[in-house]
Symmetry: C4
Amino acid sequence: MPTNQSPKATVSSVVPDHGVKAPAPDRALLDDLVVANRILFDQGVVDAFGHVSVRHDKASDRFLLARNMAPGQVMHADIIEFDLDGNPIDANGRGVYLERFIHGEIFRARPDVKAVVHNHSPTVVPFSIVPSQPFRPVCHMCGFIGAGARNFEVREVVGDASDLLIRSRELGAALARTLGTGYITLMRGHGATIVAESIPHVVYRAVYAEVNARLLAEALRLGPVTYLTEGEAETARNNVESQVQRPWNLWKARVAADVGLT
Amino acid sequence: MPTNQSPKATVSSVVPDHGVKAPAPDRALLDDLVVANRILFDQGVVDAFGHVSVRHDKASDRFLLARNMAPGQVMHADIIEFDLDGNPIDANGRGVYLERFIHGEIFRARPDVKAVVHNHSPTVVPFSIVPSQPFRPVCHMCGFIGAGARNFEVREVVGDASDLLIRSRELGAALARTLGTGYITLMRGHGATIVAESIPHVVYRAVYAEVNARLLAEALRLGPVTYLTEGEAETARNNVESQVQRPWNLWKARVAADVGLT
Amino acid sequence: MPTNQSPKATVSSVVPDHGVKAPAPDRALLDDLVVANRILFDQGVVDAFGHVSVRHDKASDRFLLARNMAPGQVMHADIIEFDLDGNPIDANGRGVYLERFIHGEIFRARPDVKAVVHNHSPTVVPFSIVPSQPFRPVCHMCGFIGAGARNFEVREVVGDASDLLIRSRELGAALARTLGTGYITLMRGHGATIVAESIPHVVYRAVYAEVNARLLAEALRLGPVTYLTEGEAETARNNVESQVQRPWNLWKARVAADVGLT
Amino acid sequence: MPTNQSPKATVSSVVPDHGVKAPAPDRALLDDLVVANRILFDQGVVDAFGHVSVRHDKASDRFLLARNMAPGQVMHADIIEFDLDGNPIDANGRGVYLERFIHGEIFRARPDVKAVVHNHSPTVVPFSIVPSQPFRPVCHMCGFIGAGARNFEVREVVGDASDLLIRSRELGAALARTLGTGYITLMRGHGATIVAESIPHVVYRAVYAEVNARLLAEALRLGPVTYLTEGEAETARNNVESQVQRPWNLWKARVAADVGLT
């Protein structure tokens, strides 16, 4: 059975760089990653914690992620390249997120996934701590939730005295297994992890996961809820998400100047 | 029985222009329509999605609506003229809202209606997914809800695997039938559509539909609710709505400079 | 028994001036009244509707109140003098609030009252429509609620098809009777009326009535609530309200520049 | 048994200075205390009321606390030195917080505590008035709540007609006993008191106590809740709180310019 984690384990750390840098990613991809950090904060689905990554466009076994810092303060110079084991390539002594294994293991398990958000979305977390209440889609904007988000219970991996963090490849892989072929997974007492085929898509889904949580929580207090059917969820996801550029443009306009873009 | 919609159906599209432009609408009407887009966003009853239209003042079989974009970014140049079938007159290759049929079919069915809002109002949507809980007025500002909003169930028209969107004249007409002679109709898992005799009226009603939803949702948690009687609703609507210019002026003052008005 | 009100009754109106102006009120009193209008809007306890009045410091049978407009836009020039019957003295053709009778009749009935707020406080209104759930104080800042706010049911005065508005001296007097010797009364489906010995006091109470409503509504969902005893309410009101200048200064600092004060 | 407090007891007062000033505290400590006041307001966990103190770095029997004022307006010049009995050393006639005894008695009882926040956190207070509903941690950011916050019932000390305020050393000592070895205690109908080993820690805990309250209140409405185990709470507190500088930097960046820091 699982062993408890030692107390006072580090959360952020300086980790030795490993390997050789891939060719530089497209500037537009970097721009989008920096903007995504700022949008997630501006839209209230990350606070000082949480992170967003993108798979490297020139090297499918690499991903890009900010150094250990608040997403709302990320600039271009803060982006670091990682391999799928979670080793930084060019941290140059800067601290990295402890939970980078979320990103590496999902990129490994899901070739279709190009971008990952991990957050502590305020109305999604309550669903993570009430396992009897499924998190299912109730509106056409949220078809990506499909038949309902699966809930990752960290205790099943590391026992009942952990810090709940995804602090190892083992835990990242376990989380990726819970995610399965879905687009969102809840993490008990912790948050959510959301995946998509692009940065604008994953940001859209992170924002609308919170919207769905608010709609559903409110509706559950009113009476029996009509959920989307699986067919509705799939059709709505396919069709509505053809429009992700619309909110992306709106949200980007609010933060672009702060990161030197216009 | 209804057939499912094909997946990956387009949501926004470039549609060929059709017909000859009507005489130019009053500049004040255009100003109000642009301001209405901005107010609805500023007041939190549309996000990147939702739209507001007005019947053309020079041609009762035409209406004015923005091109496919976030309401919070609409400028004068973004307004397009449509006929009641949902054909653009002067899109000139710009994308149009898929759901323009909401507007066209309501303007066709309801000669008294001069302005239409469709939105995903955050506290109204939960009522749309709890059919057992009627959405009735509970305060004197919300008499336009009358005896309660009727709830449009899209499954009854297109089956249980659609994207819930009003993507055809047929669906627009079905929605208009559900609206009937009322001023607001809910749309299951989707949003609301609100109508009125002028732009300031419809904006007022869109904002106060959300207010009524918050008041009612909170009250239902406290105990048995005293709703407005139908008589109270009608008297309150008639009298209170003589004041719509007061909130309009307040709300307009917050957004006018952004659209070049002072 | 009560008679229904005629539909399309006016809500705002131009009313003939009546009588002779009292000596000019202290400039500081006018400043406070203008600032109070702005604070109530900035703190979210009035929207485009609601009003605040003060008894004239030079004529106890007169009170000062803005012309018919949104409180968040009131300037010094918008203040009008009224007699206790609700007649304006110096409106000079400007529209006045229909519900000025709230203020006149309370100032008549309660010599101790120097300032009155009427509003549609968003979390207080739900308590007004759930008569079985008393609005009692649950925190030391809200002792002014005493043994609980009494709830005015307009139907008992004018029947069940009114617009719920206090549109006559008769209705104002009925409301004043419900208020009795208290400091706050709820108005079913409409709002609240709050009174105090000064403008800063009444603004404090209007803001903290909303705070109490939020605390109480949340607590009622958690389990059985410990209310303040009547002794606690009275002691807390006496002691805590000696500090009303502290929030007043904080709130005033946010709005003073907008009304030409520094 | 307890005696009632006299009505109209003062809440703020000018108290004679007592004793000799300790050597000047580190400038960085003063900076942090001023910034903490501003952050607590900016993050919505104090309003015009509430306070934060720090133990003097040059004299462990002294603490630093603002004069009687809104935390959101505190500047360096407003900080006063106190002894553990609550006597000011250098008030020089400025009013002091009535409830300074909260700070003095906790610093006396808990040598490990270096900083104390007392506030009326909006979603924590409801838990204080529902004694049957324990306030336990439900997310990894909130391990400091441990096995659950103990609830201080002021009636047990001063009877059922007090103003609920901690207006004496006796009451401060009673509160400190309820706190025991914990990091947060609720105060019925009043607020919370939170302690930590540094200013950034205590600010972090004050903000995340409110976060935990929101998560827990929402979750309790959804169904049976999975709380953190005591082991999880302890491990999470140890590990996650190694990161308190991250939110501190984010929050400080929003307020630093207002207090003359950059």
